[in-house]
Symmetry: D2
Subunit: 355 residues, 4 copies
């Protein structure tokens, strides 16, 4: 009811605030017998972590996952997995000024309207810190998908209006933009530096591709695979639009162009983005998410205080300039969670071993 869970057969519940002792996730429905240890999370959590380059906020966290339950002799047991990530670098002091003023573009105002209070120390529950728990859950989802050849790959398609025109997956992790086009990555980085110098921030578009997904995932009518992917992506803070396949461009095509002809060798084109009638068709799944510019900027902003009186706010401290690179692993994680959930709903990837 309170919206902190996602999924049915593979159900994750996240908890924790940015400035409390930890964030984490409980996963109910993970099949037994999956080999899992704290080391499995290091890579993905480090991808999500800030501090990779000059453009990130300097918060430095190790983000180790403690597995508090659901493991016996190095394998999942089928009981709830609890994943805990401690908040090690919690400095609430810089946020004290925010106890009175609502930051534009943040959830402070709406939380206050909803709950009668808000956690001014870095956003509390609405902070991007919560996504560390999603990334950890996505690692477990990946363990379910990978043995079946399902691969999920995300990258920056666009930052600050600069769009990638080439696709070289091998360069994604070697540039701070997580862009698959090295030349575009350079221009994106320059745009980010420029924005930072001007006390501003930029947005962009993340694309996620799924290969190896079997046909038949997704439930008709409401729990369509694309509907759940859209919800999953839109539930990530800063995402303002979601596209499947050709997305908005499909609205401008004609039926004769947009229909993907079927041949004995498979679909001839993939305008649909791998989903037809809400069900995976065996082709590559393509999803894009538009990410707004980070609302925390260095410039003076107009706002109000808790009493509704006008105020001026200039945020101290350093902030990320662009959320896109760090959202890439978060969206990958959410896509994995959706796929694992739907795969387990139909047992498309095989039931748990029975004696």
């Amino acid at each position: 009811m309170a919206g902190n869970s996602f999924g049915e057969a593979f159900r994750i519940t996240t908890f924790g605030e940015s400035h409390g002792p930890c964030v984490g996730a409980v996963i109910d429905g993970c099949p037994p017998g999956i080999r899992l240890g704290p080391e499995d999370f290091i890579g993905e959590l480090s991808r999500r972590r800030p501090g990779r380059g000059a453009l990130d906020s300097p918060r430095e966290e190790k983000d180790c996952v403690e597995i508090l339950s659901g493991i016996f002799e190095g394998r999942t047991t089928g009981t709830p997995l609890t994943l805990l990530i401690r908040n090690e670098d919690v400095q609430s002091a810089p946020y004290e000024v925010l106890a009175r003023l609502f930051r534009p573009g943040h959830a402070d105002y709406t939380y206050y309207r909803k709950y009668g209070h808000y956690d001014h120390r870095g956003g509390g529950r609405s902070s991007a810190r919560e996504t560390a728990a999603r990334v950890a859950a996505g690692v477990v989802a990946g363990k379910i998908l990978e043995p079946h050849g399902v691969r999920v790959l995300g990258y920056a398609l666009e930052i600050a209006g600069i769009r990638a025109s080439r696709f070289k997956p091998e360069v994604i992790e070697s540039n701070p933009c997580r862009c698959a086009d090295p030349e575009a990555a350079r221009r994106m980085e320059q745009a980010m530096i420029r924005a930072r110098e001007e006390g501003d921030s930029v947005g962009g578009v993340v694309e996620v591709r799924v290969s190896g997904c079997p046909a038949g995932l997704g439930e008709p009518v409401f729990d369509k695979l694309d509907a759940d992917l859209a919800k999953a992506a839109m539930s990530v803070g800063a995402v303002k639009a979601v596209e499947i396949g050709d997305g908005l461009e499909a609205a401008r095509a004609r039926g004769s162009q947009n229909n993907d002809p079927l041949t004995p060798a498979g679909f001839k084109t993939n305008h649909a983005g791998g989903i037809l009638g809400g069900i995976s068709n065996g082709d590559e799944i393509i999803i894009r998410a538009a990410v707004k510019p980070i609302p925390s900027i260095g410039r003076e902003q107009e706002t109000i205080d808790r009493e509704g009186l006008p105020a001026s706010l200039r945020l101290a401290g350093r902030y990320d300039v662009c959320a896109v690179p760090r959202i890439v692993p978060v969206l990958e994680a959410m896509v994995r969670v959706v796929l694992a959930d739907h795969a387990l709903r139909v047992r498309a990837l095989g039931p748990p071993a029975k004696p």
Copy 2:
């Protein structure tokens, strides 16, 4: 689990196939005491119905709603409402050829892969016919919202690449495109006629605006208001993208432009589309859905049969050229369902009367 329900506090379950005896919905969670009769559904169902103009498929249905349960003395009782809409004009014969061939762009292929069969008579459960049940449920949701001043208005923003540039709500229902810009509507209609003459179809963009929505609707983290709106919109067949507020354009703005400054009189701008951190902020909610061109076209198409052998398919019969006008009331209905659900989750609109 099987995905035919939507919502938590206001929960709709739809049922029925395009060529079975009926479609319908059960609503669990409707508050007691709401005045409701079959006449309340006539207007909205007639808006969804084809046959309004030369551009629509000629299927002619009266779409009367029978209320089978949940009503006593003309008011809801708080028990499940069952809404039944009979399928009166069911001619399965024209579809017989489809028992063997998968229609490109339709769900035939994925249903067959998932269930081992599919209902070739007009799409069965995946047919747009199912949306009549959604529209009926939306009428009930509207009855919950309207007394509180929440108004939901949808219209065609774009058809066949032609975008409206003016907003005159009073003309929406007086042109076959449901466009709020009469001049754009004329050009859209011409584009639709042209596509039909060429045996083709076109897509477009629907925009829905919600005024009067109180702040505080939406749950943090996963069941964000925008996440549920995105799922609701994407669960409507033919929708390939969803935007909130500035949507994709937000990805190209800077933080200093995109942040909506707060003033004692409210937000100065509304780039966010009325939702911050997944919670309504009291401003107008704006959602857009990109609708793909209708896959049923008059041209010959390449496909395969159930045995995987290549085949050529030319659909007989007449089909709509563009789904946009008829999807407008469906998306309005889904937005109403999401809002009623979230309003009842927080009882934002007042609890049911207690003695």
Copy 3:
């Protein structure tokens, strides 16, 4: 949220009131490919129907099931099944006096306190009429279980304090008590006649046995198989206690007596009633439900009216003397629903056919 659904993987939602046009159920999650027609329901619904003997209320209904959705060419499709049972013998007039007075032992008072109104025409939603929908859903659940050899058998173990001491399953349907002990059945019948002559009613105990259930059904911790069976049984009106296996007697045994020793040939005893740690152990599942005497009696009773003023109530009309015989098929149905739900949750009975 509003409590009209039951189950997760096999999810039934019932609707309808005793004096509205119909009762019915939507089943979401029924696997595709099951042969099903209206004739499959006749037997079970006729078992639930009153009017079998001199001891039943004379309401005469044919209780035909219309299948409104989810069927194509005589088989389930995997889409929602809608089962409709019309209320044919609706005479509201005898109930008019109840518009003002709360019947003791009925839900009138609590519905009024909860909703601010109640349906005085025979109980509305709280009427036993609703159980016809459960029986219909149980028929579908049975279709899932029976091919796997799971058999569910219910009978009256006790009526009016008279307890059966023999078990002859072949006589259950040949006496009006549905008792497996023909001699006890005679005495039960006499006690029921005596109670009727005295304007009174009696209660009893129903036992349900499940043979052929595979081990492994039930989820640990909360959704234990016995926990869900207890909820299912207690959700049937008039049930005031539920026992599994030895039930209350287990509380009086010692561990050395109550533990069921394991041998290579299976369990030596079955005090546990086929469930250990909430999971079926492969042995016979035994569940008992205590049924209170029917609250509608011919005697004058003390009550209050809607204004809270004291009143005297004597119910006109004829009522059943004992709910036990008619509750037998209802409890069997609920047990089948629970088992089908848990079987589909673990796919213990095999996944739906995939191409």
Copy 4:
């Protein structure tokens, strides 16, 4: 799906195994603004803890609750509460012999059949240790109920066949049986000592009474208040029967005796146990649970090993003789959880404060 969550509006998910690092609970749906600290849990967890007397197993745990999320400045925020209780006294060695043999009366066998493995170190997830998380969740539920005057009181009604005949609530916590009849408590204790001397165990009956519960809690049809109480009680390990109000005795009464007459001053009797038609009627709620004798006994028992070969098992170590006293706070907790959930579903206790 995997059954580790309970409740809808107040939803608890428990996690953890007896011999892992911890047990705990995430609570989603707790209203904001409730004062809560680790000290609030000490009393109830110490009531559940063994080691109170000579009759308990000697495991010694401090059972401190760490609140990992959901708290800000000493009050709940409305975000998920995570409650962690570390397992401090984990000695797995005594259990090593159990890696091969199934303990009769325990879940070892069914877990092995379901998951293909089981945690032999003290039962793993099926251990009574899990109930510490339920008790902690019950403390939070109590914080919601208590300000409204709802009081929940449990006690041993019967142990080893000895039934209490007096009700002195003030003596409950001063005898090791948690019995409200001091004289019966003495005889119960003697019976427990005798059973222990004979290497055996005993069972009993726990009764829980709820005073101050408002009318109107409970949803009709499936989520009846008594149905959810029955599920909650039966989901506690060792519980084999649940009664509401007169329970089994109601099956032996006549309608004229069992109906509770209504008067302007309230119900004249309370055979119904405070629930009519699944909805609380404002009277005292009475629920009883039959608890089987503890299956871990000192005597030699017949069993099989993982290969299905016959074996003999004699458990080393000391075990509780009777689960009843320690189950009292667990059942109280589950009753509180059910009531808080249903109260929040109808907002019967007032909505969260809105600015």
